[in-house]
């Protein structure tokens, strides 16, 4: 349940952030690209949260209940995905760092046999995330290897977000139990693969990989940055104000 909530919450919170670009992206084509990615992530959210909500037979919950009627501390997403959009480069940097991680994680999930429902969801998600990762990687290269202004701005975006990357690989009890069962990947092995991809793209983009400093964690246990509360307030206001509303 916890493992599935984390998967669903990562996708949901990032989708909501990307949705904020709707009508505001730097070009019409990119506006559609970002919101397409958001829609892919919402689809993944629906699947993961529906599955998570069905696992407690005494108190089953729908995906909508989990998305709209939980409070901030009940969300288990990474701090990285809740960070505000900033400028376009900030959004791309956040997406790039997450996509590479999400792709490796989904590839493992699609192949494991501990939970076949989760495997089916991940198998579909892998195709989607593969496109997301290609999209964000190409933008990192385009901006990094672009003009001197785009280069310095995207470098700063990556530097600013780097402190949130440690949380992806900081294994706690849920990760370790999930890894032993076979459901979740071994995060230290995942990190090795992630490093290779990140380094490859950053090198092509002529960008410098930031040094690992103090990493910020807390999202997995519900201790979030101030960014999440305001986002959830906007996301949840309709179902909370009009319970059971449909359209």
């Amino acid at each position: 349940m916890h493992a599935l909530l984390r998967l669903g919450d990562d996708a949901l919170v990032l989708a909501q952030r990307l949705g904020e670009w709707c009508g505001h992206a730097p070009a019409l084509e990119e506006d559609i690209a970002l919101t397409n990615i958001a829609l892919d992530l919402i689809g993944q959210t629906q699947s993961y949260l529906s599955l998570a909500g069905s696992l407690d037979p005494d108190a089953p919950k729908t995906d909508d209940e989990l998305a709209f009627l939980r409070s901030e501390s009940e969300f288990k997403n990474l701090l990285l995905v809740e960070q505000s959009n900033g400028h376009f480069g900030d959004t791309i940097a956040r997406q790039f760092l997450f996509d590479q991680y999400a792709l490796l994680r989904a590839e493992h999930l699609a192949q494991q046999t501990f939970d076949l429902d989760a495997a089916a969801i991940a198998a579909k998600a892998v195709k989607e995330i593969r496109y997301h990762a290609a999209h964000s990687s190409k933008w990192i290269i385009r901006l990094g290897d672009g003009t001197s202004e785009s280069h310095s701005r995207i470098q700063k975006s990556i530097d600013d977000l780097w402190a949130f990357t440690g949380e992806m690989f900081a294994a706690d009890d849920v990760d370790i139990a999930g890894s032993i069962a076979g459901l979740l990947p071994d995060l230290s092995a995942l990190k090795t693969q992630w490093d290779v991809e990140i380094d490859r793209v950053l090198a092509e983009a002529t960008l410098v990989r930031p040094k690992d400093g103090a990493m910020k964690t807390g999202g997995r246990t519900g201790v979030h940055t101030e960014e999440l509360g305001t986002m959830l307030a906007e996301m949840q206001i309709l179902p909370r104000t009009h319970p059971g509303a449909s359209w």
């Binding site: 730097p26 070009a27 019409l28 084509e29 559609i32 690209a33 496109y131 190409k138 385009r142």
Partner: protein, 97 residues
């Protein structure tokens, strides 16, 4: 960014649908390079399962016939209805043409 965007060249997009035999022109978009044009075309023109293959062509590479030439180019065909193959009597076996 918006300045760069206005400098992005225009691309014409052709999509082959699932049943279609040929690529059909579906519209145009802006992109900085061919790779981005394919990505943008995928996002803008195939998000509702419209296609299985995409071509992008720089709009400046297309040579179009001039509207002022249209009389000379097209009007002469108007009274040559015999060029349509509808005057042949078809054998029954091929009556689904």
């Amino acid at each position: 960014m918006s300045e760069n965007k206005s400098n992005w060249p225009l691309w014409e997009v052709f999509v082959r649908s699932r049943q279609g035999l040929g690529h059909k022109h579906v519209g145009s978009l802006h992109a900085s390079d061919a790779e981005m044009a394919i990505g943008n075309a995928r996002d803008v023109y195939t998000r509702r399962q419209e296609g299985v293959s995409i071509w992008v062509v720089p709009a400046e590479s297309i040579t179009a016939s001039s509207p002022s030439d249209s009389e000379a180019l097209f009007d002469p065909a108007n009274d040559k209805v015999y060029r349509h193959p509808t005057f042949f009597v078809l054998p029954d076996e091929v009556n689904h043409m």
